[in-house]
Structures are given as C-alpha cells and as structure tokens.
Amino acid sequence: MTDTKPGDRLLQVRDLHVDHFDSQQGRRRPLLNGVNLDLEAGQAMALVGPSGCGKSITARALLGLLPTGFDWRGQIAWKGQTLNDPDGALWRQARGKGLGLILQEPQASLNPVMRAGDQVAEALRLHRGLNREEAWSAALSLLAETQLPDPHRAARSFPHQLSGGMRQRVLLAATLACDPDLLIADEPTTALDVSVQKEILALIRRLCRDRNMALLFITHDLNLAPLLTDQVAFMSEGRIKKVLPSAQVPLLPSARKPAAPPAGKSPILRAADVSVSYGGSENSAVSSVELELRPGQAVGLLGESGCGKTSLGRALSGQIALTSGTVTLAGNDLGKARGAQLRTMRRQVQMLFQDPGGSLDPRQRVQSALNEASGTGEDAAARLLVEVGLDPDLGRRYPHQLSGGQRQRVALARCLAPSPSVLIADEPTSALDGEAQNLVLSLLERIMGQRGLALLLISHDLEVLQGICAEVKVMFGGRVVESLPGDVPFLPLHPYSRKLVQALPRTLREDMNLWVQQDFLPSAGPPVTSSGCPHFGNCPLQKPICGKELPPLKMVSKNHWLRCPEAEAEEPPHFIDT
C-alpha cells in the first residue's frame, strides 16, 4: 500500500538532543542526550525503557510535536530529506503522508465531541481530497480493516460510546487514513485489559505486514517489546544503550516467589452470598460471592474491567450497599451496624486506590493528612512514613511534590493510620511503572506480615497477585469462576482463566505460535442472560446446557475450586516456570 520498498531508508536520526526549559526554576534539563536511530521500510523496532527515560519524548520529537518549552537539536531525516524548516511545513507533510502515531489512552486520543467516523474521514478528506461521501465510505472500510465488529455503528458513535479496545481501533483507522509508512505506537495497550491488549497487538502486527508499514513500538514492558518487532532498542537516561535482535531478548523473570500456603487462622472478614446491582437493574455487577479474609494473608481478585471486582471491593468496605448477602467483620454484621459502631467498623476496613493523586487532597501537607487520618491527636505522621519506607521529612511536602510511587506509599500510610484490620487494595500498582510497582508490592507484603493485616488485592494483572496471594479468585461477569492458590506457576483450569493467562505477554513470548494463530475479532462481553455460565458464548468448551444452568463452584483439588464441569478433566495448561 505504501510506495516504499523494503530496504528503503525511512528515518535517520543523528545525535538528537532535547532539553526542557523549566521557566519556573529558570533552568534547563536535558531529556535526550544524543539519540541515534535508523529505520528501514517495513522494519519493526521497539523502544524499551523505564518511564522518564525519554522514549515518549523521542516519539514526539520525531513527529515535530514537542510541547512548548522543549527544544531539540540534531538531525532528523525522513526519506532522505532533512526536517529542519522552522515553520514546520515539511513536518506537517511528513506527518500527513508518512508518519502515524497512536497513543496510550484511547479515550483521551479521540475528540470526545466528534463522531468516530468523522475523525477518520477528516484525515481522508484532507490527504486524499475525497468529498464527504467518498471519505465516509473510505472511513468505513478502514474501520473494517481494523476489525471493528460493526463498522457502521462504530462510525456513527461518539468515543464515549465505544469500549477501550474499540477506541484504539478507531484511532488506528484514523492513523491509517494517512497511509503512513511508519507507525509510531506509544504504549498503545498499556491502558487496556490483557485480552484486549493481545487483540490490538495482533492487529497492529498484521496491519504492519499487510501494508508494509514500519513500526516503532514504544513500551515499558520488556516482555511485550519483542512480540511485535525485529529489533529492540533499550533506552535509559535519554540515550539508546543497546540494540538487540528480538529473538535474543531474554524473557524477563518474574520478581515474585511462591506465596506462603494458607495458614489456619480464623477469618476476620467474611462475605457470604454477596450481590451488588446498580440502579435496580437485574444484571448484577456482583453475584453471590463468598470470600474470607484472614489476618496476615492476602486474597487476590483477578479479572478484567467490568468483571465486578471493584464493585466487590467497595461493597466489602461498606462504601456501597449490598443487594443481598452479608459482610461480617470480626463477627459483626456490617449491614446492620449504625452510628458509632458503623464508623468504627469503617475505620477497620481501609481502601487503597489506583490513582494516588486523586485520593490525596492537593492542598494538604502529607503530615497533616496522615495525622488527620490517624485521629489520635498525637503526631503519627513520622512513624507512618518510616513504616512505608519514606523519609519522615517528606511530611512537609504537598502531594504534587512527590513522585507517583511516593504518593502511592503516602496513600498507603494514610490507610494504615487508623490501624485497620483489613486493607482492600484496588489496582494499587496499575498507575506505576516497573520498579515503583515492585516496591509498593513488597511493601504491602511486608506490612501485611508485620501488622497481621488481612489484605484483599484487586488487579487485572496476574503477576501482581502471584506470590503474595495465598488464594486467587478469578472473576468474570460478576461471579467467581475459579479459586486457586496464587502459586508460581499458576495453573488454572477454567477456560476463561486460561484465556487470561494465555494473553499475558510472558506466555505469548513463551509460545509465539499461540498468538499468531489467534483470530483478531474482539470477544463479545459477558452474555446478558442472568442464568447460565457467564462465559457462555465465548467459550471453546461450551455445551448447550451451559447457557441454561449455572454450574456450581466445585472443589477439584485441595484449595482449588472451579465453576465449570467441562474443564475439570482438562490438563492444566503448559505454563512457564520462573
């Protein structure tokens, strides 16, 4: 589709420097220190590095779209032509005709007040000179090319009416409208569920092959990088440190070790037959969940968005009302408590959220937030900060003066301030990158042991749960479909759990065939019927009976419960040891 032949030189970057001028502090901060990069037509390269290493800045510099306050120098040549004109006409030409960009947050990358089809058609009209109708039908065929299940409907929708995966497909289609020779994908799947991530990655890979499109794939995930690319460039401190052929990139070992086996303490929090539904709808967000949390132990909830894990967490902490069932805390029914008793019980169950920035008051100093939360009147801030491994001097700062990882640890300290017995952590590491993620996780594990805290860890990411959680419950369509030890290796039997595990970058790297053969169609959501197995309709093992009767949660071996009669006899999947 592109007019380039394999082997043509597309992009040549020499000694690229980018500085950021901070006008408040009046000093210059170097972000890129001499990046060299070559890309040929049809070549796929990954740019990997921790956050702050300059990989996104590189992408923006290549497109000539650095934010104000950023200067660059060096040489960038596109198809042999040096891009250096000050008014940016050459850049704009290159962007429209050769360089495409897709970004991390598909919600934020689409104009919220423009129909999806119009956003694709806009670029078509501009670059191919099509009229309104031609552009619209060309947009429809691009949307079909990105495997949207119903292009006509998607084209007429506004972004908020589409799911994350569909938005990313729309963005891809809009980018393809320019018929790019090089696609720059900046963390394109980081905000998506694992199974959607797999579909989008497979789609990008196929589009690159079909269109002979080169790819610059930017990611922080070392296991993801080699999946799409021929070469992986490692970046740190504003430089490319080394470039390896993808086949030689080692599989990043999991940092987690096997979790301690469940000990026989009696549960502090017990949920029996808990259901939650919103706005009187008959589809429950959570249906009949049983759960026990024991002091000094962690239970993991694993599931993708919409599975009900967040609703369950909120219900357990008493933030939303149950539709049915009971939650008891140290033998007292949370639903029956009133007044002072309810307030004490609420203090006993604390919640830690994904976004630490949003849960801290930006105008309150850290120490005053901590002292307020401890409620004892004494100065508890310093002690709490030390407990979460922070310098007590940080207490004088405001939240925005902290890094993301520090903020999350402050949020954790605030949860600990009222000396709770239960901590519910909802995606506590999803907003953090590699190192900060591990820090927060090991901190959680240590504090859980020291304080004898009962921990409920909610995540979409198996690797977050593995090694900490004695028990992992897999949720789908509001129900627990499987419950098993969070061991390494993780050996689930339920077809949905297995699909999740197989979509993990780690598994995909293990067995490249696994995903190359997959179809690219997005999976349908859980069925609307309330009877029957929630996985019915997507399940490779399904029998007609599955749609009518909900299978019970049955014990298949010690500490392993399964809600699928068909999978009981299956062999556990082949899965990596680390």
């Binding site: 704009r92 962007r95 670029a123 670059h127 506004f158 589409l162 905000a191 009900g308 997005p522 959501g525």
Partner: protein
C-alpha cells in the same frame, strides 16, 4: 432526552413560580403601608379605602397574593403608580431597546471573548498575549459608570463621533425606516461597546484556561500527528471542546449583562429596562419595581435553562448513553 427535558423545564417553571411569590412577599412584607407612598396624607378614610381597593391592596395577604397570581396569569402586572398606566405597557416599550442593547453587547462580548482567548492561548507569553491581558483587565476592573462616562467624554464630547445619549435622534420620527435604523445603530455603538468591553475579560480568561487544558490533551496531539493543519486542529478540535464549559458561564453571564445594562442605560439615557427600573425605584413605584425584578429573575432562569439545553445538545457525552460492555479500558469503573 425527553424525560430529561420535561424535568428540566418543570424545574425552571417551579423556580419561576417561587420567584414570583418571593417578589410578592418581599415587597408586601416590607414595613409601612404602600398606600402611604401614593396618596396624600390628608385623604379621608373613605377615599383611602377606595384607593386601596383600586390598587388591589384590600383584603388579607393571601387574598392579595391570589389576586396577584391571577392577574399575572392574565398578563396583567398592575398599574404604575407614577405614570398611571399599565405596567405591561411601560415594559413593552422598554423591552425592545433593552433587548437590542444587551443582545448586541452580548454578541460583541462573545466575539471578544473567543478572539482574545485564542490570542492569549496561542501567543502565550508573547507581547500580544500581555497586551490583550493588560487591556482586557483594565476594562474589566473599571466600574461601568466610569467607563460609560469616559466613553461619552471622549467619543462624543471630544471627538463627536457618536451621539452622547438616547437611542434615536430627536427628529427620528421624520426619517425613513432605513435611516431610522441606521440612526439607532449609530446610537447603539457606544453603550454596546462599553458593556462588551467592560465584561469580556472574565469569561475570556476562563476560556483561555479551558483552551490551554484542551490543547494539552492527547487527541490534539493525535490530530496533529495525522497531519491536520494547526488552524484546523485549533478550531475544530480545540475550540470546539473548550467552548463547552463556557456555555454554562455565558448562560449565567446574560443576567449579569442586564445588571451592567442598568448603569449603562442610565448614563446613556437609553430608554430601556434599566432606566425604567431606576426611575421606578426613585419614585417608589412598586408595581413597576416588582415587574422589573421579576423580569430580571426570569432572565436568570431562562438563561441557565437555555445554557443547559445548549450544553446537552453540544456535548454528546451527556446526550447519548455509554455503551455497556465489558471490553473496556481498565480505567473505566467496573
């Protein structure tokens, strides 16, 4: 959409009803007999009673309230005590000039707001940005009466470009229709400009902040990465989104402009609602005061209702439901 619309309109009607009642009770419960302000003291008791009846001041408070509501429902706002003619007649005369003035000023203001916000946002930190801000803030911080007086002094007394007051020339009755409107426009320039200039900087700074926010969004980056021109990105993707929150603000601004118009109308001798109100207050012509208060209140309600409607129409996120499905981005609440 329809249930929302019905409930929103019902809400506005309820507000207007409360407003009507409040205006009635505040005026009637004020100390003193309103009759004293109208009739001479030496009037005999029998005549007083007659007068009282004619003015609708007889009977209990609730009776009077009922009569006032009934009359209002028939479009009767009572008689002016000073001018001895129906209030509606006075208002009808004043409404035209006021609408002409405020709507012109409003449109002018909107243009100034958008233009200056665009300049401030795209020329951020450059001399043009500072110039626009300096001028705008100066006008913004000057009181309307002072600004009006200065404009009259400069453009009318000194330079003689525009008439100093009134909304048409004394001999306007002899003009042809076209000439008459040209004459009115000529009279309109100074008061409308005063109103627009005096108030545009508030919303403009608000819009500029919104625009800065929007321009930092990923979809702007993505649109530019698709090779769209800067102008198209700014207007179609940037301004279109930044204007959304401004709708609410401008809806609330409409009545504010009426308040500004009050002063400006008096200074420029513009025969509108503002002047009627002020004159009525001086003369304690309470049926007129009640009527104009009511009208201003209604303008507030109508302004905010219109703004809500417009916002809903302009923002598909409010108009159309989310699609419920499970395949979503992780940040969606589950």
């Amino acid at each position: 959409m329809l249930p929302w619309l019905t409930s929103r309109l019902a809400q506005s009607l309820l507000l207007i009803f409360i407003l009507v009642s409040a205006v009635f009770f505040v005026v009637r419960l004020a100390p003193g007999d309103p009759l004293d302000q109208v009739v001479e003291e030496e009037l005999g008791p029998a005549d007083r009673e007659l007068m009282r009846q004619r003015l609708g001041l007889d009977g209990g408070l609730w009776q009077q309230y009922g009569r006032w509501l009934e009359a209002l429902a028939h479009g009767d706002m009572g008689h002016s005590l000073r001018q001895q003619r129906p209030v509606t007649e006075i208002l009808a005369e004043a409404l035209g000039p006021t609408l002409l003035l405020t709507l012109t000023a409003y449109s002018l203001q909107l243009i100034l707001v958008i233009a200056s916000a665009l300049v401030m946002s795209t020329r951020r930190g450059q001399p043009l940005d500072h110039a626009v801000q300096g001028i705008g803030l100066t006008f913004y911080s000057l009181p309307f009466f002072w600004l009006s007086l200065m404009f009259v002094l400069l453009f009318s007394r000194q330079l003689g470009w525009f008439p100093a007051g009134g909304w048409e020339s004394p001999d306007a009755a002899f003009y042809s229709l076209g000439e008459r409107w040209l004459d009115r426009l000529h009279h309109l320039v100074l008061p409308a400009t005063t109103l627009a200039l005096g108030a545009f900087m508030g919303p403009a700074r608000y819009l500029r902040a919104g625009l800065d926010d929007v321009l930092a969004q990923d979809y702007i980056l993505a649109a530019r990465a698709r090779g769209l021109s800067n102008r198209r990105v700014l207007w179609r993707h940037g301004l279109r989104n930044a204007l959304l929150p401004l709708i609410t603000l401008m809806g609330m601004w409409l009545p504010n402009l009426l308040g500004g118009a009050l002063v400006v109308e008096v200074v420029f001798g513009w025969p509108g609602m503002g002047r009627v109100t002020i004159e009525a207050i001086w003369a304690r012509d309470y049926p007129v005061v009640m009527a104009t208060t009511l009208l201003t209140g209604v303008a507030v309600v109508v302004g905010s209702t219109l703004a809500d409607l417009l916002y809903r129409w302009a923002d598909p996120r409010l108009r159309l439901p989310d699609m419920a499905d499970s395949e979503g981005s992780r940040r969606d609440a589950s």
